[in-house]
């Protein structure tokens, strides 16, 4: 039997149309953060072998369909497959793996101006502002959205595909900490 708390948060996440934060789930479910984590793990585990699963963007949780079910859901919704130009995909890749990241960093890595492209990615809700850097001028930092995770079928940022056969990028600003919290 699943715990009562897992059932409660499942019900809330089921009707929610946007990700629900961990703290809100804890408050609604009347649980401590620790109890909530247990319940989320229980809930996620219970979806193994079903058409649903839990996805989280940092602390924001959501019930989504599995990638295996995607073709059928897409057929039902008449959904278009996301189409991203190779250049935008590169920009998105830098942001996804390096977030939170400055526009100037994205441009340094790609060697070309990326402002317009970042704006287009924000319009499509794949990229969001993720605060400001503590630097002169407080430039904006960019990160990915929950929609990004959904479009690429990632359970969380930890799920980002890894390329192992390349040396780690030199001069990385925030290597390794991108996926946390």
């Amino acid at each position: 039997m699943r715990s009562e708390l897992a059932n409660r948060i499942e019900a809330v996440l089921f009707v929610a149309e946007k990700p629900v934060s961990r703290s809100e789930l804890a408050r609604i479910g009347g649980a401590t953060p620790r109890q909530l984590d247990v319940a989320l793990a229980e809930l996620g585990g219970g979806y193994e072998g079903t058409g649903l699963r839990l996805q989280h963007d940092g602390d924001e949780w959501q019930i989504v369909t599995t990638p295996e079910a995607a073709p059928y859901v897409a057929a039902y919704l008449g959904a278009d497959r996301l189409r991203v130009s190779p250049a935008s995909l590169e920009t998105l890749a830098v942001i996804a793996y390096r977030q939170p990241v400055l526009r100037t960093d994205v441009e340094r890595v790609r060697g070309v101006a990326c402002g317009e492209m970042i704006r287009a990615l924000m319009e499509r809700d794949l990229v969001r502002m993720a605060g400001r850097a503590e630097e002169p001028g407080s430039p904006l930092l960019y990160g990915t959205t929950s929609r990004f995770l959904g479009e690429f079928g990632l359970r969380s940022l930890k799920d980002l595909p890894t390329a192992r056969d390349l040396p780690p990028p030199p001069g990385t600003r925030v290597a390794g900490t991108a996926a946390a919290s």
Binding site: F14, V64, P67, L82, P86, A87, S88, L160, P161, P170
Partner: protein, 270 residues
């Protein structure tokens, strides 16, 4: 070589980009050179690629100005590296010059290669249709509780109510004409004079649709320009419009408005 074209809008498709040979930028072009010739990215002498790089850039034809700059920047680096390898006695001229050593450029190239690979991995996920869906749309968004945005939401619903009523009348009465600019000035004057005024007062007894809409838009504009503060005790209640306080006194409300030209707030509409 690059992927199939379908119907859905392509993110980034409208943006100016160099795509004659499918290059996404100077680093992309340089990397292509390395890979085409199956060179080891870790040991290739980048200066040796200067000639071929320039030939490829020349072949591209028309480049947008900003793109051209970045292509030429890299070209100049490559030529510099080439020159240094031919004339080992050539010393760096400045610290800035030093920063574009072969190692620096190689590091960038390696970093870029990683990004391109990651982009390819992400692209692969799109192509394989590995995607998650979530519930979207359907639930009614309830107006938020408390705060200035409520005032706006409630006021808007009030305007809509008036609009529904006014629609019947407008068939007969020739529409008056109001401009937002004019109405904004009027409200500004009223608020400056009275210190504070209620939304109901501003609307008058039986406003026409266009008058109500123009008044509302004017308020939004004033609020946006931080000329006024909006206050509301509860949802759908009347809204109090006050002249924007000095930042220190923010949220103090309408009471004690003491500034030149307005002595004591007259409480209109209460």
């Amino acid at each position: 070589m690059r992927e199939d074209r379908e119907e859905a809008p392509l993110i980034g498709a409208r943006l100016p980009r160099v795509s004659v040979e499918g290059f996404e930028g100077p680093l992309d072009l340089l990397l292509e050179l390395v890979e085409d010739r199956q060179l080891d990215i870790l040991s290739v002498r980048l200066g040796d690629l200067a000639g071929e790089y320039l030939a490829r850039v020349r072949a591209i034809g028309v480049l947008p100005a900003d793109e051209a700059a970045s292509f030429l920047w890299l070209a100049s680096r490559l030529v510099l590296l080439k020159a240094r390898s031919l004339l080992p006695s050539l010393e760096p001229l400045s610290p800035e010059d030093e920063a574009v050593s072969e190692e620096e450029l190689r590091a960038r190239l390696i970093e870029y290669a990683a990004v391109r690979q990651r982009a390819a991995l992400l692209g692969e996920r799109i192509r394989s249709g590995e995607r998650a869906f979530h519930r979207e749309g359907g639930t009614v968004e309830l107006p938020p509780r408390g705060g200035d945005t409520d005032a706006l939401a409630a006021a808007w619903s009030r305007v809509l109510a008036i609009a529904a009523r006014a629609r019947r009348e407008e068939a007969e009465v020739p529409a008056e004409r109001y401009s937002v600019e004019q109405r904004t000035r009027e409200i500004e004057e009223i608020v400056a004079r009275e210190g504070s005024v209620s939304f109901v007062t501003l609307l008058g007894a039986d406003p026409s649709l266009s008058f109500a809409v123009v008044t509302f838009i004017s308020l939004l504009d004033l609020y946006r320009r931080a000329m006024i503060d909006l206050e509301q005790d509860e949802l759908f209640a009347d809204i109090r419009i006050t002249k924007k306080q000095a930042p220190a006194a923010k949220g103090a409300g309408a009471a004690g408005t003491e500034r030149k030209g307005s002595v004591g707030a007259q409480r209109a509409g209460e």
